[in-house]
């Protein structure tokens, strides 16, 4: 059966939504004041950003989405209290080669390790593979991001590349891993889980 009844943007506890230009800048500004989060999410230097700057970033982002047509961006909300808890995106999509890069972050420390990342990634992958019909997705993760690595492995991502000593933080060099998941791998896992 063609499963168009089950919602793409809703899971048990989460909802994916667009940017709220009024409410979201304040929340995301708080996330940028947490250097731990920023260093898990970005390879660019962590720096605190005001809500006003985040607001500008959103405007730039929406312009880029409209012009480049190779980026999909979601805000992650908890359904219980409609709180903004994170963001997820598929970027740098090469349509001719049918691949894209995924990124996902749960902003506040107290929201992590609660299974939100799993639910969000599940929605993001279904969107990538069953809506955009991508052939594969790729994710880049520093070796110190244990949470992300465990999450990717849980979904069957394969570590394809180890970029040795590609990142410098806290006075030492770190490896940067590249993980990949093919559409057919995702599909056969999903099928196996349904049958179980």
């Amino acid at each position: 059966m063609l499963d168009i009844q089950s919602q793409l943007f809703e899971s048990a506890d989460l909802r994916l939504g667009p940017i709220d230009h009024e409410k979201d800048p304040q929340v995301e500004s708080q996330w940028t004041h947490d250097s731990d989060f920023m260093r898990l999410m970005e390879t660019n230097p962590a720096r605190p950003l005001s809500a006003a700057m985040i607001k500008k970033q959103y405007e730039k982002l929406e312009k880029q989405i409209e012009e480049d047509k190779n980026l999909f961006h979601f805000m992650i909300h908890s359904r219980a209290d409609d709180r903004l808890i994170g963001k997820a995106m598929i970027q740098w999509i090469e349509w001719t080669n049918s691949n894209g890069w995924i990124r996902l972050g749960i902003g506040a420390a107290e929201d992590r390790r609660k299974g939100f990342g799993t639910q969000a990634l599940q929605m993001l992958l279904r969107f990538a593979f069953a809506e955009l019909n991508l052939f594969r997705v790729t994710a880049m993760v520093p070796e110190y991001n244990d949470g992300a690595i465990a999450l990717l492995r849980k979904f069957g991502f394969v570590q394809e590349v180890c970029r040795r000593s590609a990142l410098e933080r806290d006075g030492r060099r770190w490896d940067l891993y590249v993980f990949g998941l093919l559409n057919e791998e995702w599909r056969s896992r999903s099928r196996a889980q349904e049958e179980r």
Binding site: T43, P45, R136, T138, E160, V161, R163, A166, G180, L182
Partner: protein, 189 residues
């Protein structure tokens, strides 16, 4: 001091916008060349458009993270290709892309000589910790050349590119500054 811009077969220059545009217009017609060097679709841009890009670059100067060179042979002073670097100053890493548009200079050591100059520039002048590159798995000639230059294969993103109806891998390679230094010392003895 080392001569940064002179190798055994080639030297690094920066050609004028009109010279570069004239060459690019020829090179882009060679789709085998394009498909070896790039993952994007082959494009045919007008000479005027290409010249405008180079002129804009000349007017504005290079962005701090961009270094590009033209490549000429030492022997006949032929303009044969290009070498471009993207530099991440924060994490001390550079990415390189090279191409030889003039086919008669393929498979004759020119690419390897270009890459050696590139490594010297990245490690001795830009003082980077790491140099990275990516290539198509079907580009066996490039792979051999890069291995000769001391790059290590660090993995492959499976079936990332679609060519002529077939999926092919992209190979990722890297060399660290200390590895390059070791090679230099080894060569000297």
């Amino acid at each position: 001091m080392r001569d940064l811009f002179r190798g055994e077969l080639v030297r690094l220059t920066l050609e004028e916008p009109e010279t570069r545009a004239r060459a690019e217009v020829q090179w882009q017609r060679d789709t085998e060349f394009h498909r070896l060097a790039d993952g994007d679709p082959a494009l045919l841009n007008s000479e005027r458009k290409i010249k405008e890009w180079f002129e804009k670059q000349a007017e504005e100067g290079f962005k701090p993270d961009r270094y590009s060179f033209s490549v000429r042979t030492l022997e006949e002073d032929r303009y044969i290709g290009f070498l471009g670097l993207w530099v991440d100053l924060i994490h001390s890493e550079a990415w390189v892309g090279i191409g030889i548009g003039e086919r008669e200079f393929w498979s004759r050591g020119y690419g390897t000589d270009m890459m050696k100059l590139c490594q010297q520039y990245v490690f001795a002048e830009l003082c980077m910790e790491r140099l990275s590159l990516g290539l198509h798995e079907y580009n066996a000639r490039a792979l051999r050349s890069y291995e000769k230059c001391g790059f290590r294969l660090e993995g492959r993103t499976r079936q990332e590119v679609m060519r002529e109806g077939r999926r092919t891998d992209v190979l990722w390679m890297g060399i660290l500054r200390e590895e390059w230094l070791q090679m230099q010392n080894g060569d000297g003895k």
